[in-house]
């Protein structure tokens, strides 16, 4: 169940950009998409949203084919939210308030409800209320991005796709965004599809990870499985291990012990490494 691709291929200007991709995005999961520049991550995400036509394969939601227009082309899937890689591709309104209120107003929500939703999403992302009267295009790069995320999050989509949402965010806003998305996604059993180059944040937040390489889906695994057991796959995709996992491997190497952390999250790895370090008598307080 969930959103499902079966053997989907995409060609743009005669070049095969995605080759024979099959996957299921299960409800309630945080799935991250990684791969080097140009591996096809954004194209894959656009296929999921129904923005890019594919010449082969099929796309279903809960086993039902997705609706098409009268010419048989895919349509943008309304229940899927999409935050673009560049906020400029998305922002259009004259004030931040209007930007955030737009989708709900179009849906016919009452002004009171819209206002409450805007307030909530601003708080969730740690944005100050005085931003609401600003022009989105005049904000700093990071603030623009947060407004773009907020304008999609406010619609509470079934599946939320974010294309590098943390690029350009300072660490406070980055952590706030990821934590809030996780809370929202778990509470409401929503699906998150996160495209990211930050392997550390992928390891910290994901249930599953999809690895793309040159238009192929090289692997789709549980995050723990990928980062702790399948280093070779990452290497094949031209990606380094997240730094905490590199630390784990280093300590294994120099101690000659096999270490099994509770998960691939930095917190769990640090805890384990700290124990090993202390047992060696290497720990000094302060």
């Amino acid at each position: 169940m969930g959103y499902e691709l079966n053997d989907v291929s995409v060609k743009l200007n005669g070049v095969e950009i995605l080759q024979s991709v099959s996957c299921t995005l299960q409800e309630g999961k945080w799935i991250s998409v990684i791969g080097h520049t140009g591996a096809g991550k954004s194209t894959f995400a656009k296929v999921m949203k129904g923005l890019v036509p594919f010449y082969r394969g099929e796309y279903t939601h809960d086993r039902q084919p997705l609706p098409r227009d009268s010419k048989g082309n895919m349509k943008a899937v309304p229940q899927i939210g999409y935050v673009f890689q560049y906020p400029e591709q998305q922002l259009f309104a004259t004030t931040v308030y209007r930007e955030l209120a737009f989708a709900l107003t179009v849906k016919g929500e009452s002004p009171g409800k819209v206002e409450a939703a805007v307030k909530t999403v601003m708080e969730q992302l740690g944005l100050p209320a005085d931003l609401l009267q600003e022009k989105p295009f005049q904000l700093s790069g990071g603030l623009k991005r947060l407004v773009a995320v907020a304008s999609v999050l406010i619609t509470e989509p079934e599946l939320l796709i974010l294309d590098e949402p943390t690029a350009g965010l300072d660490s406070v806003h980055r952590t706030a965004l990821l934590k809030q998305l996780q809370v929202w996604q778990r509470e409401k059993n929503r699906t998150v599809l996160l495209i990211s180059h930050q392997l550390e944040e992928v390891a910290d937040y994901s249930d599953e990870v999809m690895v793309f390489q040159k238009g192929h889906l090289l692997a789709h695994l549980e995050a723990n499985e990928l980062f702790l057991k399948c280093a070779d796959l990452l290497e094949q995709a031209g990606l380094p291990l997240p730094e905490p996992v590199q630390l784990l491997r280093l300590i294994e190497g120099i101690s000659g012990r096999t270490l099994t952390p509770a998960s691939c999250r930095e917190e769990d790895i640090m805890q384990l490494v700290r124990n090993v370090w202390q047992s060696r008598g290497l720990h000094h307080e302060g």
């Binding site: 954004s42 890689q85 560049y86 690029a167 350009g168 806003h173 990606l239 000094h284």
Partner: protein, 266 residues
């Protein structure tokens, strides 16, 4: 030398962005500028190459002043700025033309243009895409082209405004290496970044906060002296590791060597 002398800047007078900023950047320095979202980093970058003029005070590049209209051409030749978001700065229909475009304004002889542009594309590993359309590139590829366009102009100061934000780990390393190699050639490198691991190799860090300079010094001094979390930043992995394990050894970008050495001596 690039000199900021009591610079004030605001977009609207009731919202000051930079206040009474004074500092100097020497030729050949490798400087990182950090600070929270909206703290004024990009504004500072645009003041450096005269895209914006100070409301009060002066920005001087050697004897040139960004407030003197006749100096602006020379200032922009000497100080190149790679913008934060490359998507809205492409104007031509091929990657090569995009890089050549900048050279046309610099009175570079026609015969040299293609050669210089190709060298710059090689430096960012985009030579295979010379004929591609800029708008069809991936985000990370666009960012590389934007870097190449500035590098081709051979300015003596290059300002990178979050030039690595859209890149994969390899791409980030490539751009950092390019910065290092330009620095070794004697260029002044100024990078704006949110990635604290990227600042460890610079000579000097400026931390912007509420329109003022909250810190000016070496990267290791920054992580030991200032509570950077107060300024919406978090320490890089190497520093988190030092804290978690209580390491006393001096902070280095390459934490692996530090850990191995400490283990071996115990």
């Amino acid at each position: 030398m690039l000199v900021f002398d009591q610079v004030d800047y605001y977009y609207r007078s009731r919202n000051p962005v930079l206040r009474q900023l004074s500092f100097e950047i020497r030729q050949g320095e490798f400087l990182s500028i950090i600070g929270g979202n909206g703290s004024g980093k990009s504004t500072l970058a645009k003041l450096m190459n005269g895209l914006l003029q100070p409301r009060e005070g002066q920005v001087m590049l050697d004897h040139l002043n960004t407030r003197t209209p006749d100096d602006l051409g020379k200032i922009r030749e000497q100080a190149g700025l790679v913008f934060q978001n490359p998507d809205n700065q492409f104007i031509t229909t091929s990657v090569l033309d995009e890089v050549i475009f900048g050279l046309e304004n610099l009175r570079v002889p026609r015969a040299d243009m293609a050669g210089r542009a190709n060298m710059a594309l090689q430096a960012v590993h985009m030579e295979d895409y010379a004929e591609a359309m800029p708008h069809q590139l991936s985000g990370g590829q666009k960012q590389r082209v934007a870097v190449a366009a500035v590098v081709a102009m051979e300015p003596s100061i290059i300002i990178f405004d979050e030039a690595t934000s859209m890149l994969d780990p390899q791409g980030r390393r490539d751009i950092l290496e390019l910065m290092n190699s330009l620095h070794r050639q004697g260029k002044t490198i100024i990078q704006i970044t949110h990635h604290m691991d990227e600042i460890l190799s610079s000579d000097r860090v400026l931390l912007l906060s509420r329109g003022e300079i909250a810190f000016d010094g070496s990267p290791s001094a920054l992580f030991s002296s200032v509570s950077i979390t107060e300024h919406q930043l978090s320490p890089p992995f190497a520093v988190r590791l030092h804290q978690a394990l209580g390491l006393k050894a001096p902070l280095r970008a390459d934490w692996k060597e530090t850990v191995s050495a400490l283990w071996a001596t115990s």
